[in-house]
């Protein structure tokens, strides 16, 4: 799989879209969301087979957030993500085969098998990094926004609700606002920090509102609605690009899997899970595309195409060689 999906952001650099183009653009976005869902399910299967090692944090259910955010970004804008970051990288343009190969620990992985699931970096696509430690993406994106100020680029941090209680969150929101950095802070609030309900460990119970204390515009967004995320992101990105400083978006969403591979997520009430599954972002997007005139056959064909290309990408990744420790020992420094 080439991973060269049409760059939706390229078609709408100003965050605006024509009605005629909209369906096609959002159709591309739907394809990207569908790719992320299929990718996560494939990684889940490979993990159960013992081919993906260590741990893995799947983002199924949260696809609309990174894809909606990237709809508002130019290809050369920056994005940082989390250890639940497969979808973040794919949304920004990372090649699915190279990403799968990384999960499988292969030499052809986007980081040659050295990074694994939690630490992917792909600067070629403006992916500043995925960070295995909660809150790390906020610091990295703040720094990229500092560069962005000199380069005319915008930088987005994706992070979870747990990160809103880290020093990174508070220090960097203040830092970015004081320096009027072109940053957008996007919280994927999936209601649980690991196994603990967000509200039990988050004073005030609100994440978005915390930005108000820093004088930063904020918005609570339906994180399962691609259109809502796209619209809010476009506004925030436009504000950043205009030199008016950062925005905090709290995108409320839900993960379909547990926190990590070892977590069956039994702490979540069945009715809550059911309610959120009814609001599956893929279902929402699919229904809206159909209602706006996309034909069922077109959607099915697109889904089949994504599925087939991903299957080929995964197979290619599985056939790729493991890195040879004797052939390439690694260096400590760039000389």
């Amino acid at each position: 799989m080439s991973g060269r999906h049409p760059e939706v952001a390229e078609q709408r650099p100003d965050g605006q879209h024509h009605a005629a183009e909209g369906a096609r653009t959002f159709l591309d976005a739907y394809a990207r969301m569908f790719l992320i869902r299929e990718f996560e399910q494939a990684i889940h299967r490979l993990f159960l087979k013992g081919e993906v090692h260590g741990t893995t944090h799947l983002s199924a259910g949260q696809e609309a957030v990174p894809v909606g955010v990237c709809m508002a970004l130019r290809p050369d804008d920056y994005l940082s993500g989390t250890y639940r970051g497969h979808g973040h990288a794919l949304a920004k343009g990372t090649d699915p085969e190279a990403l799968a190969a990384e999960m499988l620990g292969r030499a052809t992985g986007v980081c040659g098998g050295r990074a694994g699931s939690m630490n992917v970096v792909d600067l070629e696509h403006g992916m500043v990094g995925c960070f295995g430690i909660v809150g790390g993406s906020i610091g990295a994106a703040t720094g990229a926004a500092l560069s962005g100020k000199h380069q005319g680029r915008v930088s987005v941090a994706l992070f979870g609700d747990g990160a809103a209680n880290q020093a990174y969150f508070h220090e960097c929101l203040n830092f970015a606002q004081v320096l009027r950095l072109p940053a957008v802070f996007v919280c994927e609030n999936n209601l649980y920090g690991e196994f603990t309900p967000m509200r039990e460990v988050t004073a005030g119970g609100q994440i978005a509102a915390r930005a108000g204390a820093y004088g930063i515009p904020f918005q609570v967004v339906d994180g399962n609605d691609l259109w809502a995320v796209t619209e809010a992101s476009a506004e925030a990105v436009a504000r950043a690009r205009a030199g008016d400083g950062p925005t905090l978006l709290e995108c409320q969403t839900y993960r379909h899997f547990g926190h990590s591979k070892s977590d069956p997520a039994k702490y979540r009430p069945a009715d809550e899970v059911e309610r959120w599954l009814q609001r599956d972002p893929l279902g929402i997007a699919r229904r809206r595309l159909l209602s706006e005139g996309t034909a069922e056959v077109e959607l099915t064909a697109l889904e089949n195409d994504v599925r087939e290309r991903l299957a080929a990408a995964i197979e290619a990744a599985r056939e790729a060689p493991f890195p040879d420790p004797a052939a390439r020992r690694g260096t400590e420094y760039r000389e």
Partner: protein, 326 residues
């Protein structure tokens, strides 16, 4: 040769690199308009403007994170973390992000940042404003740790650090800021290379930063006792130039390592281990001077007794080797 003050050497190094490379940025707490609490960086903002030289909130983690993110996206940030003791607050971004990116990215991307801090005791600043954090970072692959002992090295090493493509932790001892000395010979001084700053045949004294000044002072007195000590200035704690140390030990057969910090987990302990591994047959004696395993005290009498000084080195050598005025 004209004399250069240590603090001016640091300022000139930053200014010259800001001048030659538009991607260099300099920021930190009180560094721009106020010119730094140790009066090191005055005038830089006036000269280079607030986009490239600016004051920041007191947020060390944000500083380190911003430096990391800026460095991976094309800038060369130079950051001041006012006191080295504050580096604990910056650690996640430095240790888990900056230090690891080059390797983890499969050697595709590097992190050209410098974090410089005032370090060291003797200023009556107490337990939380007097430490040397070099050893906190010495064991982290991917980082470079540099601690100059002279104005010339401060300038040359800092310029090299700013041009280096890897993250560099730069330690400036408070009691060196007013030291005067010759300007460096060349444009830069290479990182990771020790220097023999005094030649001798009977004993090698290894130190870094302020300890090198003390070692040189002690060596001058020891010469009166008939003992010629060679002083090796490591200059970098990581990468560590073991080769220069071993060459000196091969010549003198005795080594003393002096650290302003506790011996447990200190660089002196690691160095003696490496010397033993590589050059045991060259050794007649090896020992170290370090501080007590307690925090750094405030009261002048307590702090003076706590710190290694030229006199400490002198007495230790005389006692160990059975020489001296008695």
């Amino acid at each position: 040769m004209s004399q250069l003050e240590f603090r001016a050497a640091v300022r000139d190094a930053i200014a010259e690199e800001l001048e030659r490379d538009p991607t260099v940025l300099f920021f930190g707490e009180d560094v721009a308009a106020p010119g730094g609490v140790f009066a090191v960086t005055g005038g830089l903002q006036e000269r280079f403007g607030p986009q490239r030289v600016f004051d920041t909130p007191i947020s060390e983690l944000a500083l380190a994170g911003a430096a990391f993110g800026a460095a991976v996206t094309g800038m060369r940030p130079v950051v001041e973390v006012m006191f080295g003791d504050f580096m604990g607050l910056a650690m996640d971004s430095l240790v888990n992000q900056a230090a690891k990116l080059w390797y983890v990215s499969n050697e595709q991307h590097s992190v050209p940042l410098v974090i410089r801090s005032a370090v060291g005791a003797g200023g009556r600043f107490g337990a939380m404003h007097s430490q040397n954090h070099g050893t906190w970072f010495q064991g982290v692959p991917g980082l470079k740790v540099v601690a100059p002992s002279s104005p010339g090295d401060a300038k040359g090493l800092l310029k090299a650090a700013i041009r280096d493509d890897n993250p560099v932790i730069f330690l400036e001892h408070k009691r060196l800021y007013s030291l005067k000395g010759p300007a460096p010979n060349g444009e830069t001084v290479p990182l990771g290379r020790a220097a023999v700053v005094r030649e001798g045949t009977d004993l090698t004294i290894v130190s870094v930063s302020k300890g090198v000044r003390d070692a040189i002072d002690a060596a001058e007195t020891l010469a009166g006792d008939g003992l010629e000590a060679e002083v090796v200035d490591l200059r970098s704690l990581r990468p560590l130039d073991l080769e220069t140390v071993l060459a000196s030990v091969t010549k003198t057969n005795r080594v003393l390592a002096v650290e302003e910090g506790p011996r447990t987990g200190g660089w002196v302990s690691g160095l003696l281990g490496m010397i033993a591994e590589e050059g045991l047959h060259e050794l007649d004696d090896a020992w170290l001077i370090a501080t007590e395993e307690t925090p750094i005290p405030y009261s002048p009498t307590l702090e003076d007794a706590f710190l290694p000084a030229a006199e400490t080195i002198l007495e230790s050598v005389r006692g160990r080797l059975g020489i001296g005025s008695e």
